[in-house]
């Protein structure tokens, strides 16, 4: 229901609690709102509940209480309206890169030539045009991550959820993929929720950062670095100031 004066959030996480039976809550009453087209980072140490919150937002898990509203409708089950990228590329190694990208389509219907063209365009944008027919085994780690990103985007989902997708990559490849991700999502107007434990990555990518600790969001920042981000910003004082503030808050939350 739309109330006078208040805008309806694109993704609205309301007082969400999730517990595995017989244990302390993993997600303990989280409220978070995202407007369409925003890029938010969910930052926290291992075990703080950030991945669980992401799975709740994806509909892979059901909250015990609270609710998750996506574009005005309560999220019932996972589906093509949400793109998801896991920590590992999780490609199917018996399929070519192109068929891997087309997997979300082919599980819904038979892919049309237009679908194949869209998939090829995505691969092209991510610098993999010449690898479309290669199998995952023939690709490097960074290339596999790019294929996984293309797969998450092929149905043009309005919401993209990423769970530390670049954690296993070397620093330079990771920086390239961060730029690719920002550019691709900006072109499509995709709303992105990105989980990471890397402060640097969170400040570089996010318009906003939520810091999670013990299943709650304990702190949040709006990052006002100029868009589009450039790698050179990483060395600027503004960037490092944000990193230091976030770091201090993380250290404070840990004690």
């Amino acid at each position: 229901m739309r109330t006078e004066g208040a805008t309806v959030a694109f993704l609205d996480i309301e007082k969400v609690v999730f517990t595995y039976p017989g244990r302390a809550p993993v997600v303990d009453g989280v409220d978070w709102r995202m407007q369409a087209g925003e890029f938010h980072c969910l930052l926290g140490r291992s075990g703080c509940g950030k991945t669980t919150l992401l799975k709740l937002a994806a509909g892979l898990l059901k909250p015990q209480s609270g609710r998750i509203v996506l574009r005005g409708g309560e999220l019932a089950a996972p589906g093509p309206q949400v793109g998801f990228m896991f920590q590992a590329p999780t490609l199917l190694d018996w399929l070519s890169a192109l068929d891997n990208v087309l997997l979300p389509v082919s599980l819904q219907r038979r892919p049309t030539p237009q679908d194949a063209q869209r998939a090829l365009r995505l691969l092209d944008q991510l610098g993999l045009a010449s690898h479309a027919q290669h199998h995952p085994r023939q690709l490097s780690g960074g290339q596999q991550s790019r294929v996984a990103l293309a797969r998450a985007l092929v149905l043009e989902p309005p919401l993209l959820l990423l769970d530390e997708p670049f954690a296993a990559l070397d620093a330079i490849t990771r920086a390239e993929l961060q730029d690719d991700l920002l550019r691709t999502c900006r072109e499509r107007g995709t709303t992105v929720l990105f989980v990471t434990h890397d402060i640097n990555e969170a400040v570089y990518l996010g318009d906003r950062i939520a810091l999670m600790h013990g299943g709650r969001i304990v702190e949040n920042w709006t990052i006002t670095l100029p868009a589009p981000r450039m790698q050179a910003m990483r060395h600027g004082p503004a960037f490092n100031d944000y990193c230091a503030r976030v770091r201090a808050a993380m250290d404070g939350a840990g004690t």
Binding site: A58, L60, T90, L92, W94, S106
Partner: protein, 215 residues
């Protein structure tokens, strides 16, 4: 220095020849009767004359027929049973003990019983062959399907895949040895990629002779 695969194969063949030679030598040296141990040369001679005179052929045909029928029946039932047991925990709990116990019975001991029950025809032979093939296929299918990793299962859930799609497009190919995954893939694709009616229409399009003639 490691031998190449070709060299290894040649060595194996050479060993085979050496063993045959030794066997022949032993039989001749000690003058063993053909009833105790026939020499390889005598075996080869008997085989050749049986084949040349046509005496063996009907028997070879009958054996191959029973073998293929039994192999096909055992494999199909084993594959289906493995899939059913992998998909349903309850079915596995209820049926697995019986399947395992049935494997403890030596199958060749069943042969006289089968002859008694099903006569001297092809049927008992086919049944025994099928029984022998059934278990390894069921067991391998079951373990293969259970090995699918959790993240890929979650991916399929995330993509809204049905249970049948998850079985055909993820669990079955994952359970196959890597060299076979590519072969199974087109098959799975055809069976699950789209709805039945459209694949039926495509089948018709591939076989134009089966559609009614148009005016």
């Amino acid at each position: 220095m490691n031998p190449t695969p070709m060299q290894a194969r040649l060595l194996a063949a050479a060993l085979f020849l050496v063993l045959l030679g030794l066997w022949e030598l032993v039989v001749r040296q000690w003058g063993l009767s053909a009833l105790v141990l026939p020499a390889p040369s005598a075996v080869a001679q008997a085989l050749w004359s049986g084949l040349a005179s046509g005496y063996f052929w009907p028997h070879v045909r009958a054996t191959l027929q029973a073998l293929f029928l039994g192999l096909a029946a055992g494999s199909i039932v084993g594959l289906l049973a493995g899939m059913a047991l992998a998909e349903s925990e309850l079915l596995e709990r209820v049926l697995k003990p019986y399947v395992v116990v049935s494997q403890v019975v030596p199958k060749l001991a069943l042969a006289p019983l089968f002859v008694l029950w099903f006569g001297f025809g092809m049927l008992p032979t086919v049944l025994i062959t099928a029984l022998i093939c059934f278990f390894p296929l069921m067991e391998n299918t079951l373990t293969g399907l259970r090995q699918t990793d959790a993240q890929r299962l979650q991916l399929f859930r995330m993509l809204g895949a049905t249970r049948l799609q998850t079985l055909l497009r993820l669990k079955l190919p994952m359970g196959l040895p890597p060299s076979l995954r590519g072969c199974a893939w087109p098959w799975c694709w055809r069976w699950s990629a789209s709805s039945w009616p459209s694949s039926w229409v495509r089948a018709k399009a591939w076989a134009p002779w089966s559609s009614p003639p148009r005016a």
